[in-house]
């Protein structure tokens, strides 16, 4: 039940109400727990709430890190 879905915030209204979208699905969410959220941010959504912002730079970096590591260590 601690299912979390990465979504992109599209609009922000009053009282921490916002809308987020993933793969063509748009849902109302609450940004009460991550109040600094801005439109365009990626957030992790659980039970209709943004739980944390997703850092796209960090996300890319860790993939690149593993690419480098596999190249260095070799595949065997």
């Amino acid at each position: 039940m601690c299912l979390g879905i990465p979504m992109r915030v599209t609009e922000i209204e009053k009282n921490f109400k916002a809308y987020a979208e993933t793969m063509g699905v748009k849902r109302p969410i609450s940004i009460k727990l991550v109040p600094e959220t801005k439109p365009g941010d990626f957030v992790l959504v659980h039970a209709g709430f943004a739980m944390e912002k997703i850092d796209p730079v960090e996300a890319r970096k860790r993939i690149e890190l593993f690419e480098k590591m596999l190249n260095l260590e070799g595949l065997d």
Binding site: C2, A47, R60, F66
Partner: protein
């Protein structure tokens, strides 16, 4: 879609996943040669149990890894006594129960919420706990009871619903809290030392709230390597790669393999709102004796929102535990679903005996859906 995760192409993503899988398999083989046994790892979170089985990673690595489920499926750890209480609440005429869908089919001692709903009980399935607030505002002649089930990830969402109920002055809203905390349960589990784990995969989304450093005690106090991991196949493999390296090098350390979402100190706002409404208290878990400080109870000043005191002269049936059900041992990693005699015989998703077969993140349900082939192989050997 050409572009996958953050501009990284899907083809590259899949290639990297495949390469990493081979890498992890080889690492697992090395450890198996060194130690002469499979590496025993507990995935604490129910969503991880499902992710490992659904992606096929558990099956592909089953020669080198012995994956055990932990106490991280909220429905599965809910005690029979609490289930009976919640079902009894649904039988009160003016009550509307608001719950996450998983709970509906979980058998209580004599009946389930689903059966009560069929008989006319008003049970509303919600996606967000805030739906309970809208229902309460729209149905002032009714009593809305939100079933507070979940861990640290869900607790702040329930707390936000409470904050809204307070702001709006709602008099017909209450919660039945069986909210639970993961670290005390892990302490209780590791303290028992009944079986030897080599490492743990820690719950990624509980960690978004608590912060990765909450779990430092596992490495420091219990000398066990552990990793905070995400839920996509690549996330799972990155987690396993770090964990197996720590195990290989015999380093008791915590690694955060989910750092683009999980911060070291977690989400301060979420922790504050939990603390505003709740305090730690003793609570019952399936599979454990009662664990001190492992539950979230409403603070006394918010007792008006407590369903237990609002409906205190309720008749609760004497709780009965089903004989033969191994859920308690499965969620503490002592057994796997294949060890349970009821699994895929009298207990199936259509006729579930225990909660692990009902919940979409229960270990038995995941093994039933994705791992029956493995069961066949075990039976043939």
């Amino acid at each position: 879609m050409e572009q996958g995760s953050f501009g990284y192409s899907v083809t590259n993503y899949n290639r990297l996943t495949e390469q990493l899988l081979n890498k992890v398999l080889k690492l697992g083989q090395k450890i198996a040669e060194k130690k002469g046994k499979k590496t025993k790892i507990m995935e604490v979170c129910g969503t991880h149990t499902v992710a490992f089985s659904r992606s096929g990673i558990a099956q592909l690595l089953s020669d080198v890894l012995d994956l055990r489920s932990g106490p991280g499926c909220p429905i599965c750890v809910t005690h029979q006594q609490d289930l009976d209480y919640m079902i009894s609440l649904s039988r009160i005429k003016e009550v509307i129960i608001v719950t996450f869908g998983d709970l509906l089919r979980v058998p209580g001692s004599f009946t389930s919420l689903e059966k009560e709903k069929a008989k006319g009980a008003d049970v509303h399935i919600c996606y967000s706990p805030l739906e309970a607030i809208d229902l309460a505002a729209a149905n002032t002649q009714k009593e809305i009871v939100l079933l507070g089930i979940g861990f640290e990830t869900t607790a702040p969402t329930i707390a936000t619903a409470l904050a809204q109920a307070r702001e709006k002055g709602l008099k017909n809203f209450s919660i039945y809290s069986t909210l639970k905390l993961v670290p005390p349960a892990l302490e209780a589990l590791l303290h028992e030392k009944k079986f030897d784990l080599d490492g743990l995969v820690l719950p990624g989304h509980v960690s978004t709230v608590l912060g990765s450093n909450t779990f430092d005690f596992i490495a420091q106090k219990y000398a066990l390597p552990c990793v905070v991991a995400g839920f996509e196949p690549l996330d799972l493999l990155m987690g396993l790669y770090y964990l197996l390296n720590s195990i290989m090098e015999e380093k008791a350390e915590l690694t955060n393999a989910y750092a683009h979402i999980v911060k070291e100190k977690g989400n301060k706002t979420a922790k504050e709102i939990i603390n505003l409404f709740f305090e730690e208290g003793e609570t019952l878990w399936r599979g454990f004796a009662s664990i001190p400080g492992s539950g979230l109870k409403l603070r006394t000043e918010y007792n008006d929102f407590e369903a237990r005191s609002r409906f205190n002269n309720l008749e609760i049936p004497q709780t009965e535990v089903f004989s033969g059900c191994s859920c308690g041992d499965i969620i503490t990693g002592k057994l796997t679903p294949f060890d349970c005699l009821l699994f895929n015989t009298s207990c199936t998703p259509l006729t579930p005996v225990g909660p692990c077969m009902v919940s979409s993140e229960g270990a038995c349900s995941a093994y039933y859906q994705y791992r029956q082939q493995t069961q066949q192989e075990i039976l043939l050997h």
